[in-house]
């Protein structure tokens, strides 16, 4: 294992310190628990909080700031954070209008956030949770853990963050977050595995001519392993599943998000976007917004995911609204 780190035990801590030092105008660290807080703690808004295992940077810690998250709670690499983190973070940033937890659908995240929410509710602090579960690679069922939360989370955090910034109520913010989740679908793939620092070796092995389709963001194996294909064929596979699931229809206006898993060059992501754009054009689905880059990653994994979000006018307006975070910035 070769990484730019000092000690495996300190990867998350030192990385957070670096983030805070690089962006003192945007974020600060919580004094006692592991949480990244917005530096200006605005009072007159719902506090939007997310969190999850580390290793997906810039998500979530890089999305703390104006117009997005008020706090992010990072766990160890690929490990859900603990309830005290979400509880303390909420106490620190709640301005009185209540707290929305944006939670990715993993058993661990659900349970840990739930415990924090219970603790807050016990103190009379208004708290709501929305579970993001946009990964079509996983079959949905009442009897299983259901679908994972992946790329859709980034879009939800941006759009919902903008709504909260406008001063919307907790109920409104929550409703919007549910609407985003209801209209977003994703699927990912990997060309290589990734190595959890503390584990010291790749989570899975892929042959020199193999890829893994339906990969999650925790370096967990996907649904299917096959010979590598061209970008165009990969886009076809991922996008077909994504489009048919919602389903997205001709005439739909969408935000197309091509996300890198961390180790794939940006130039390749643009090739994927080029193919995705052709694919959707043929189906009559209109890309009216897009995002291309490494936003929800799996350490140094090579690969990509495709996320489509069906937009309405409010979502468009909120997507375009100013945002100023270490990882996403425009309009200011």
């Amino acid at each position: 294992m070769k990484k730019l780190i000092n000690e495996v035990e300190k990867v998350v801590e030192e990385s957070l310190q670096g983030l805070a030092k690089a962006h003192p105008d945007l974020v600060k660290l919580h004094p006692s628990v592991r949480a990244v807080l917005r530096v200006d703690s605005p009072k007159e808004k719902v506090a939007v909080i997310s969190g999850g295992g580390s290793g997906h940077e810039p998500m979530h810690t890089g999305f703390v700031g104006f117009g997005m998250l008020d706090a992010a709670c990072p766990g160890e690499i690929f490990t859900s954070p603990t309830p005290d983190q979400m509880y303390e973070a909420a106490k620190a940033v709640n301005g009185g209008k209540g707290v929305l937890y944006i939670v990715k659908n993993y058993s661990g995240d659900i349970m840990n956030f739930q415990m924090a929410a219970d603790m807050l509710a016990g103190e009379g602090i208004p708290v709501e949770q929305v579970i993001i579960n946009d990964d079509v690679a996983v079959e949905d069922s009442l009897y299983t853990a259901g679908r994972r939360g992946v790329g859709g989370t980034v879009l939800a955090e941006k759009i919902v963050g903008a709504k909260a910034e406008e001063g919307a109520s907790l109920e409104e913010v929550k409703k919007l977050c549910e609407r985003v989740n209801a209209n977003v679908r994703s699927m990912g793939m990997a060309l290589t595995s990734c190595t959890v620092p503390a584990a010291g070796k790749p989570t899975f092995e892929l042959g020199p001519d193999e890829m893994e389709i339906g990969i999650g963001i925790h370096g967990e194996p996907g649904r299917q392993r096959m010979k590598v294909k061209t970008a165009r064929e990969i886009v076809e596979m991922l996008a077909t599943t994504v489009v048919e699931d919602l389903p997205f229809k001709a005439g739909d206006e969408v935000l197309a998000f091509v996300n890198g898993m961390g180790g794939t060059p940006l130039s390749e992501l643009y090739i994927v976007y080029n193919d995705l754009s052709d694919f959707l054009e043929k189906k009559g689905i209109k890309i009216v917004r897009n995002l291309v880059g490494n936003y929800i990653t799996s350490l140094e994994m090579q690969g990509c995911s495709i996320t489509l979000l069906r937009l309405d006018e409010e979502m468009k307006r909120l997507w375009d609204a100013p945002v100023c975070t270490p990882g996403l910035r425009w309009g200011m």
Binding site: G75, V138, A199, G216, P221
Partner: protein
């Protein structure tokens, strides 16, 4: 004075043994989690029980409930993932049954473990054969209960429970996961032993080892 029961000293000894056995099996647990999860179970458990041992060693205890309550709180705030809240709840619920008790015999421990298991099930919603820790814990608790009914000693009960936990753990191998991260793999999760069921077995082993015959 050793009467074969679980007193404060042995409770602390148990925590130490769990820490040790989890440490020895840290890579093994992580490897199991690599196959059908995200390669962190051993790391998480080892971090959690190291902290839990630190905690119980630095405190004075008058009852065994408080020992396991501290374990529960520490696991909750240091393990994370799915295992953190689940084992946290297990020890929390068990500790409530043991609160104020200087020692536990087999019937009491069986009751405490039953409470713990119920906590895990009501939090995680896993049923038998969903390929989780529940598949190791359930037969173990049942074995404790029937051993208690048969009037066996604590050590004997734990030995029977351990055997059943081991069987439950191995039974997870062919299962297709329906809960936790392994469920994302669908059919591909079959053929691998569940990491959480394995750590449950190891925890029972530590309880067993901590008690003299």
């Amino acid at each position: 004075m050793d009467n074969g029961k679980l007193d404060v000293t042995k409770a602390i000894e148990t925590v130490k043994r769990i820490k040790d056995i989890v440490d020895v099996n840290k890579e093994y647990l992580t490897e199991l989690d690599s196959a059908i999860g995200d390669a962190d179970h051993g790391i998480n458990m080892s971090r959690g029980f190291a902290k839990a041992l630190e905690k119980v060693k630095s405190n004075e205890y008058n009852d065994i409930g408080s020992v396991f309550k501290d374990v529960a709180m520490t696991l909750m705030s240091t393990v994370g993932g799915a295992a953190g809240p689940l084992y946290g709840t297990f020890f929390m619920k068990a500790s409530m049954k043991l609160a104020g008790q200087k020692e536990a015999d087999l019937p009491l421990l069986a009751q405490a473990f039953r409470e713990g298991l119920q906590g895990v099930v009501s939090l995680g919603k896993a049923q038998l054969a969903d390929k989780t820790m529940v598949d190791a814990l359930t037969p173990a608790v049942e074995a404790l209960e029937s051993a208690a009914k048969d009037g066996l000693s604590l050590k004997q009960g734990l030995e029977k429970a351990l055997a059943m936990a081991e069987k439950g753990m191995k039974d997870t191998i062919p299962m297709v996961a329906r809960k936790g991260r392994a469920s994302y793999l669908g059919e591909r999760s079959a053929g691998h032993q569940d990491p959480g069921a394995t750590s449950s077995y190891l925890i029972l082993k530590a309880f067993c080892d901590a008690l003299e015959d």
